[in-house]
């Protein structure tokens, strides 16, 4: 097996050599990312590092424009909904995997079945929970079945990467991936770097950049100095303060929204007045201007991403009114009452600073605020475990599917993993919205849900964060809303 993989990568390398040997100026870039992929299997883990690499090797039936609009990917057109639980996809002709195998209905069926196979225990089931199976109609047509009505199936299929069933059976998906994307896997020196090379037979035309090297650099400061030294061409998660230092940068509204989830059954935060005071006590404008240098926008009354389906445009921003906040705390007879703020450090942009700043604002209302910065695994347990809900817990919630279902099920639904309320009525509405296939009716439901949660102050939404990338002088790239690093969209000017 190892020998076969070696032979295959040697073959791929030879293929690459012959392809690029002719061109005069082979262009190579180096990208510094924050974490190394835990595996290169595109279907098992929910891992940002893995996606940053595999988004270039694999493709899905659906894709998104850089602005976030859903378009066809490996499907030839948008899917056709045959009945409530059946969707039909027609596939693009002439697509081949990097090993030469054709992309067809069998590949789609195998990919779907592999992800949803309980034996594989894929972490990505959070995105694919409603998918029941796939059936081949003919070579280029496939139907996908859902367990119930699922209005966002097309969005889900944008997340599911397509694999070659032949290679999946005998190759080594975890360390030598083979997909249909514009780049093919070259080498992976674990702990150091990973190389990709352009796939000359890509159905969308050969990409401009021929060779890509990924380097794994967890420290933001190290990434920055690497960029300044000319070692890297693109770095992720640039701090806003350094936008004036780097040769070039690009910022784009991202998928992440920072929010505090309030425990509505806890002793202090069960009082609606206290929760309202917590929302009124924070000077979000000052935080955006000073902490994020303007590279964030204030969340408009909810943690649901404004680009997502279901966002309620009519919600108001929470005001900054420290006087009223203090008055409310006094009215609620909560002066000096203990409030524990739980958070983590180092996972999201300026997480610790947001937590400390908000805790200080809350302390000004008269509550006795203590901050509990936890180690990440312990934090995850506080966020999603079965233990008692924290008074307030910080999270930068990300919405990859750009649909309100994910955010509401996760944080508003009383059975949601990160939810801290016990509002059964709202949970029912969320369940209803999840299966409502009429778009207008569905939007109306979300409007109502978000309004209810906003008025009852179930959460303290903070900011829609922007993703900032630092780039070398020669790079030309407009980053994407969905935060994917698609190298075929980059170019190099020399």
């Amino acid at each position: 097996m190892t020998f076969r993989v070696l032979a295959m990568s040697a073959g791929l390398a030879a293929l690459f050599m012959s392809a690029s040997g002719g061109s005069v100026s082979a262009q190579a870039i180096t990208i510094a990312i924050g974490s190394e992929p835990s595996t290169l299997d595109p279907q098992l883990r929910d891992d940002g590092g893995e996606r940053q690499v595999n988004d270039n090797i694999y493709e899905a039936l659906m894709a998104r424009t850089p602005e976030g609009e859903l378009i066809e990917g490996l499907a030839a057109a948008a899917p056709e909904q045959i009945d409530e639980t059946t969707w039909q996809f027609t596939l693009r002709e002439g697509v081949t995997f990097h090993n030469g195998a054709p992309f067809n209905a069998d590949a789609v069926v195998a990919s779907v079945e592999r992800v949803i196979d309980p034996e594989n225990n894929s972490e990505q089931m959070a995105y694919f929970g409603t998918i029941a199976g796939a059936e081949k109609v003919d070579d280029m047509t496939v139907i996908i079945l859902t367990s119930g009505p699922d209005p966002i199936l097309p969005s889900r299929m944008y997340w599911m990467k397509m694999i070659d069933p032949g290679y999946a059976a005998e190759g080594d998906l975890a360390s030598a991936p083979v997909g249909t994307g514009p780049y093919m896997f070259e080498s992976w020196d674990r702990g150091t770097e990973l190389e990709l090379a352009a796939y000359p037979d890509y159905w969308g035309g050969e990409p401009e950049i021929d060779e890509v090297t990924y380097r794994f650099v967890p420290e933001p400061g190290t990434r920055l100095s690497g960029l300044m030294a000319g070692e890297f061409d693109v770095i992720t998660n640039l701090l806003p303060e350094f936008t004036s230092t780097v040769p070039k940068f690009a910022a784009v509204p991202g998928l992440e929204t920072s929010v505090f989830v309030l425990g509505t059954d806890n002793e202090v935060t069960q009082d609606p007045k206290v929760r309202e005071a917590l929302n009124l006590a924070i000077d979000r404008e000052a935080m955006v201007q000073a902490l994020f240098m303007g590279y964030a926008s204030i969340a408009k009354g909810t943690h649901v991403n404004p680009a997502a389906f279901g966002f309620n445009d009519d919600l108001d921003y929470y005001d900054y009114d420290p006087e009223r906040a203090r008055a409310l705390i006094e009215e609620a007879d909560a002066v000096g009452a203990p409030l524990v703020v739980v958070g983590e450090s180092g996972r999201w942009l300026k997480d610790r600073e947001q937590i400390e700043a908000v805790a200080a604002y809350w302390a000004e209302t008269g509550l006795d605020v203590t901050t509990d910065i936890q180690e990440f695994s312990q934090y995850l347990d506080s966020l999603m475990g079965d233990g008692p809900r924290p008074d307030a817990i910080f999270i930068a919630n990300s919405n990859e599917l750009l649909d309100a279902d994910r955010e509401t099920s996760f944080i508003y639904h009383m059975d949601g993993a990160a939810a801290s309320n016990s509002d059964a009525e709202m949970a029912e509405m969320i369940d209803e919205a999840r299966v409502e296939t009429d778009e207008d009716a569905r939007q109306a439901l979300y409007d109502e849900i978000l309004k209810r949660a906003h008025d009852r102050n179930y959460t303290v939404p903070l900011f829609n964060l922007q993703d900032i990338y630092g780039m070398s002088e020669r790079m030309e790239w407009q980053p994407r809303t969905d935060a994917k690093l698609i190298i075929s969209e980059m170019s190099v000017s020399e």
């Binding site: 230092t245 700043a357 990440f376």
Partner: protein, 308 residues
């Protein structure tokens, strides 16, 4: 040996210290820092947790954009760096000092016992040390913090438990070599009790190596505390420590050097002062070194007189 030294009043000791200017300076700085830590509420111009987001990253007063309001500037949330420095001294000195003392206490007892008894006791105790050394410290920290919850006292316990082994090894090696010396053998032969042998004849030999090790370890503890606090195991906001301020300021090193520099300088100043003072203390407590120092001063005096 210690009893052989004539009784000295404090004044004479201070006069002796004054001869060694760097050591005297070191002691002065240590006392100043300790006083600052104790009197923090009176000395600090601001509450260390008082933030003002809009005036964040203000540089120190001598910079063009600086102002007298914040002498050493403000940090990434607009908190006064000088006040945080003063309050941070409390945490840092408490954690560093107590951890070193507890770890040295445990280590010395184990080392003395192992070195003095020898044989099977020695093997068992030293294997215990080996096991503890090979056990990953961070895992132990995780376990203890998981049970006790994060905080300053947890940190002191955890760091003591993960750092005593080095003392045990040092003490044991000194003890087992001292046991062979003629004066210890003589003491045993004339029938001194083991406790007398240990405390009167062996322990004084340990003072200077232990002091040196304590100071080296103090620096380690300060840095370990910073790393652990930064991960979220240790000091929790709004409390702060020097190490934590260095750790959370390092992302801003390129644009706001004062976040890292001042707490960093505070650590350096403390460690250097302790070092200078401890060096004098080591010589003063070691009879042989004392003799040598005395001889050097006398020789120097004679030379000066001769040339003049």
């Amino acid at each position: 040996m210690t009893q052989a030294r004539p009784h000295r009043p404090l004044r004479a000791l201070l006069a002796e210290l004054w001869q060694d200017k760097p050591a005297a300076l070191g002691l002065a700085v240590i006392l100043a820092i300790v006083a600052m830590a104790i009197l923090a509420p009176l000395v600090a111009p601001y509450d260390p947790a008082d933030q003002s987001i809009l005036s964040r990253l203000t540089p120190p007063v001598w910079n063009d954009r600086g102002s007298w309001e914040h002498i050493l500037g403000t940090d990434n949330l607009g908190r006064d760096v000088f006040s945080r420095l003063i309050w941070g001294a409390r945490t840092t000195l408490t954690i560093g000092g107590l951890t070193c003392l507890i770890a040295a206490g445990i280590g010395t007892v184990v080392g003395l016992w192992a070195g003095f008894m020898g044989g099977r006791t020695d093997s068992v105790l030293m294997r215990l040390v080996d096991i503890q050394v090979s056990f990953p410290g961070i895992l132990l920290i995780l376990l203890v913090v998981g049970v006790l919850g994060p905080g300053m006292w947890t940190l002191i316990i955890v760091l003591s438990v993960t750092n005593w082994m080095v003392y045990a090894r040092l003490v044991r090696s000194v003890v087992s070599s001292t046991r062979q010396t003629p004066y210890v053998e003589a003491a045993e032969v004339i029938g001194c009790r083991p406790s007398r042998v240990i405390f009167v004849h062996i322990l004084p030999n340990l003072v200077s190596p232990l002091l040196t090790l304590l100071i080296l370890e103090f620096t380690n503890i300060v840095l370990a505390e910073a790393a652990v606090s930064f991960l979220g195991f240790g000091v929790q906001p709004p409390d702060t420590s020097w190490g934590l301020d260095v750790a959370s300021g390092r992302d801003y090193l390129f644009i706001a050097w004062w976040l890292v520099t001042f707490p960093g300088l505070a650590i350096v100043a403390t460690v250097l002062s302790i070092n200078l003072f401890a060096n004098w203390l080591r010589v003063t407590t070691d009879p042989e070194e004392r003799e040598k120092r005395h001889a050097r001063t006398v020789a120097a005096r004679r030379r000066r007189r001769g040339t003049a």
